[in-house]
Symmetry: D2
């Protein structure tokens, strides 16, 4: 076998190579493979790319759903296209169908609350008294903390902190407004500066600048309850005609499936996702627009609610407490991601999130309708295996 001869001691380290090409070439030779597509897909200049041991790029098919008619909390109404990068057949079609039903019902209203990007360091406070003293010190010195934090970036505003003393640990959760950036790096640097201040003024050590009290990229009730990044709500009253004609089912059937699946099914499974498939739309939207894909985790948390209106229409609503998203920084810097953002036409982080909110509403509605109608398997058979 080939790999048996690949000794870790003899081979060169990939980071020793000067450039992408030589690194890729080395791999091709070493492994006797060809990486033609990966080479071909390298459409950005190396200067644009933030990664180590670069060998090229990989791709994801990009489809577009919508437009979807969205009214934001300032009562502005706009139509948005939704770029979705996915390899799951039927997903774009599903969101698209949801958009159609929503549009025909007058559009969706989307609401957003800026919770802030959080970083949760844990400090070594030798006993409870010291922990409570430290909480108090933080409260008293919050202005100073704010100043220190905000010096680290002109784009960052310190918002608040929450704290919990647990034995000899003190967990703090700092909240920051990171403007149009998702901002995890920004808040790490700010927290580092705060930690330095704390160390100087109090002698208290930070065990770890990130303590899973953030909570970053792990599912958690803390994020469900407190929110993180932005919290998103979207709703629409789907006209009974649209339910019938576009979604091929009835409000009653969707209500029944929603209750059985999203609510009872999730309850007995110990789930934090009382929804049908938020994460599908979040993942595809994130991949298209350059978000951090590990943040799909937070985007899977939340709840869908429905109600049958007296006139037979379907009230349909979603809530995502904890969405981490940005318009600038990170992967959004890649020109190809900027193109996707231009398809949306979002001028700030909030608008970007709002469009995602509408997309999730559409996708959620369409899947529940499909389950109610019994056509899920059919759709995947048609769209998942063949090509359009």
């Amino acid at each position: 076998m080939f790999f048996l001869f690949l000794s870790t001691n003899l081979i060169m380290t990939l980071k020793d190579f000067k450039n992408t090409k030589s690194r890729r070439k080395y791999l091709e030779n070493q492994l006797a493979i060809e990486l033609e597509d990966i080479k071909k897909a390298l459409i950005h200049s190396e200067k644009e790319i933030t990664i180590e041991n670069l060998i090229g790029e990989t791709t994801l098919p990009l489809g577009v759903a919508g437009p979807i008619k969205i009214q934001n909390s300032k009562l502005e109404i706009r139509n948005y296209y939704i770029p979705l990068a996915t390899t799951e057949g039927a997903l774009v079609a599903s969101v698209n169908r949801g958009c159609k039903a929503i549009n025909q019902s007058g559009g969706t209203k989307v609401f957003l609350e800026k919770i802030g990007t959080t970083r949760g360091p844990v400090y070594e406070t030798k006993n409870l008294e010291k922990g409570f003293w430290f909480l108090n010190w933080l409260k008293k010195n919050e202005n100073l903390i704010k100043q220190i934090a905000e010096k680290t970036s002109s784009h960052l505003k310190y918002l608040k902190f929450e704290g919990k003393v647990i034995g000899h640990y003190t967990f703090i959760r700092f909240y920051f407004d990171t403007k149009d950036a998702m901002g995890m790096n920004m808040v790490t640097f700010a927290t580092e500066a705060i930690n330095k201040l704390i160390k100087e003024k109090t002698g208290i050590n930070c065990f770890a600048i990130s303590s899973n009290y953030c909570v970053d990229k792990k599912p958690s009730w803390l994020n469900f309850i407190f929110g993180r990044g932005v919290s998103l709500w979207a709703e629409a009253v789907i006209k009974k005609e649209a339910v019938k004609e576009i979604l091929k089912t009835s409000a009653q059937e969707i209500f029944k499936v929603w209750l059985a699946k999203n609510i009872i099914g999730s309850s007995i499974s110990g789930s934090l996702g009382f929804n049908a498939h938020f994460s599908n739309i979040v993942a595809a939207f994130f991949a298209a627009t350059g978000q951090d894909l590990a943040h799909v985790v937070e985007g899977s948390i939340g709840i869908t609610t429905t109600k049958i209106e007296n006139n037979g229409d379907l009230y349909f609503s979603i809530y995502l407490p904890s969405l981490m998203i940005g318009l600038i920084g990170g992967g959004t810097k890649l020109s190809i991601k900027q193109e996707a953002i231009k398809i949306i036409g979002a001028k700030n982080k909030e608008e970007l999130a709002i469009v995602l909110g509408g997309a999730i509403l559409a996708g959620e509605l369409s899947l529940l309708a499909s389950l109610a109608e019994g056509s899920l398997a059919k759709a995947h058979k048609k769209l998942g295996r063949t090509n359009k």
Copy 2:
């Protein structure tokens, strides 16, 4: 504003366009934007791509970490490169550093249990008696169910079911071996066939073929406890010299950070992720190899454990109960994903998962070391903003 004039009634539906090019052109004209990169990144033929309303492809930078020395449960030892697609600076470098420390300590042992791909339909059973009767019927007719299910695909083996009667609902979780495929579509078709059989033989209706008792793409204790897809374990005893020289810290410091962050921090946050950042590595590996990105959610669940050995070495171990992964089908069909799989050299789904297990171990070790050393912010400053 432009969008105010975009009426949903007047505009064409994107799916009315005959091909990718005309669809993209229409968008470019409509929105007065250019989608050059998205066009350029379309490296696959439309026949290869399973998506609706295709307009091109989007890209993700691809780096390679490793090699990492892995011993599987059959005691075979191999070295693997790890392709990672990400826009998060420092991630590849971090996994790489972890690999180095692991290799220098003799490599990692990775274990895998095939749990099976699950689909969890919910049935309408009018009362408890009917529900229990139905569970019994399923037990008695399991051979028939197996036959019917396995007729839907030559790649699928029926494994077992679990059931729960809740009032007038009966939730069933069918487990299937889907060979080298992740297999969600496959198990949906199999379950559809089972439902047809059930309906014919018992008259019992399926409310929804997927009831969140699957649990697909939502975080849940059910998946943590029962597992889903494959369950993965990896471990290494990191020599104290490697901890010192490569990771720039000590076993004691890593243990302390692990306890404060992964364990106590996650406990008080109501998290299902008692780990530092499984999801980061899962997301990058999934994007590189064509997995379903919404399955990053399941990959964020699990626990890391550490122990300081008597001789001062660091025992380090991870457990992921619920990893959904495939070598064939879905996004892996794209030629560019096959190239990444060739970099790994995985010959089946299990081997692919095992390499991911090693990569997660490496990434987890490196991040905890970085937190212990206090260099996290530093690394992100260096690698997250500039280019290498």
Copy 3:
């Protein structure tokens, strides 16, 4: 202040006293208080009582609800009185009202599954390989384990085990049938014997005979999903006339409150109790019949489901996955608890549990009706402050 003079060094230890009386007297003198009621309430002989540092007994008011008409899974129908010990006004009246509505609707059907009493030790297995080897060893030696375990008590049957390898830990959950006893002590002794065997045969040490993988007296998803002790289901179709006349509301209103409170409310609160107040009835029934009051915790877990039948009746159902209860042993040995058990007329543990199932159904129904009607505060004002 008096207590400032109470030095721990000077005072006698309560266990040094020869009998209950002298111990109580000492306390009365030391603290200058009178413990007349505690003395008066000591109605059992000291021989009957299993407690250390006994000074007397304390009391709880005992009321009786019902009778309630219950059909078990063998289709036997009986009427049962329900003794409830509580200091919460309105609780007995509430259960009573529920019984009335249930009886008028033909009674309740209660189902029970014996899961078994579990003990979950954790073992030190130095690495994953050892852990998996140990799991395998347990499987191969299960007959021997069964023999050893069953030697410790003629009332105990070994059922099965489940195991989880986590790094250098192996968690095992042994299930035992403890006949009519709740059986925690019994399974501890059996597990101790098993551990001795394991140590002898494999050299593997037990870290702790109880590892919170039991899970005893703590809320947990493990118990929700696997069940523990007995799992209980109860249901009734409440006639719309009974809903109107006895419960003073409608099926629609109860459904709405159930959905808003038990299901949506619990979902967004990260609760394991998708019910209105299982624990109230469990606590009162446990106190009356001599159960371990810390097991109220497990009894708070579970879900209530409802449906509006086509004819306007209300389908109402409960599920408790994890109820720890006994007819013999522990507190049930006290003669006063046997009197309560005689009120019920339960001949075995299962029958006792079944009556509790009916009582919970009644209490749950009545409270949801009260909330729907808006009379909760009223009832507590009337029954919680005055005397009947």
Copy 4:
């Protein structure tokens, strides 16, 4: 069979009886049983007792542990006896042993935060806009709400509210200071008054005055994260000599068991109780002092932390976020409960809670030591089956 003849139609309703005696007599005759102990245990006058269908009282053995030396946050040091009502042999002895080890190490420090008693109604707000409008209305009218609420009782202070809009539901969590009472009835009445005000001023209906967003008597992450009632912390540094001589083990062994059981074991079980047995002590203390026994559920939630100090001593600490307790009202009104409170000598709710905090610390320490030493089974054999 006797019960087959017990027709629900023919028998009298227990509430039709004029007094306790005739009711008990009727049951004795009907069921052909004797309720001598229940009669004998009726030591309170019927006027004192708040229950319906009273037939007597039931008893629980009462033991006393301690004294334990406690320092509160005002640095006052006192010694307290701990009355515990339980039928679990070894529990009092275990707490007692813990007290001894704590006292010999200088006592425990206990800290308390008054979170407030909460009631969480859910309102019908027809859409998101209305929900957000309502949240805003509540904020603007908080003073008025405060006035209205505080009119319902001179013992109640309105503190704050938290709210969550979920589709057409608005969940509100009102926090009240209920002085020395546990206060659930009090806050229900206050919330009823608030609801009346809301209805008058806004027309908004309350679906249910209690929505499981309280969260009362169900385990929930909401209560873990926000706290409820009072939050309690206790700690002690157990001298290594005390660990050795009294607890018969070492700090290292206790740390290992704590990590394996309380932390890793609870983590992989989806538990909210990262402790060994908080609920045991809470239940026994609650039964002794007249608390609501269903509140044992909240008392089972929380975390124990330990650390090995540099000098080999054991730092030991507990945290209970959500303890519902009262000194007046409810069951505490019974004279026999007042006697237990006098044993403690608590002058207010906080002091009562603080003593419970110390007791839990002692019980937790002792059990973990017992598990570390391997004597758990032994202790239960000795104390659980024989008499002292």
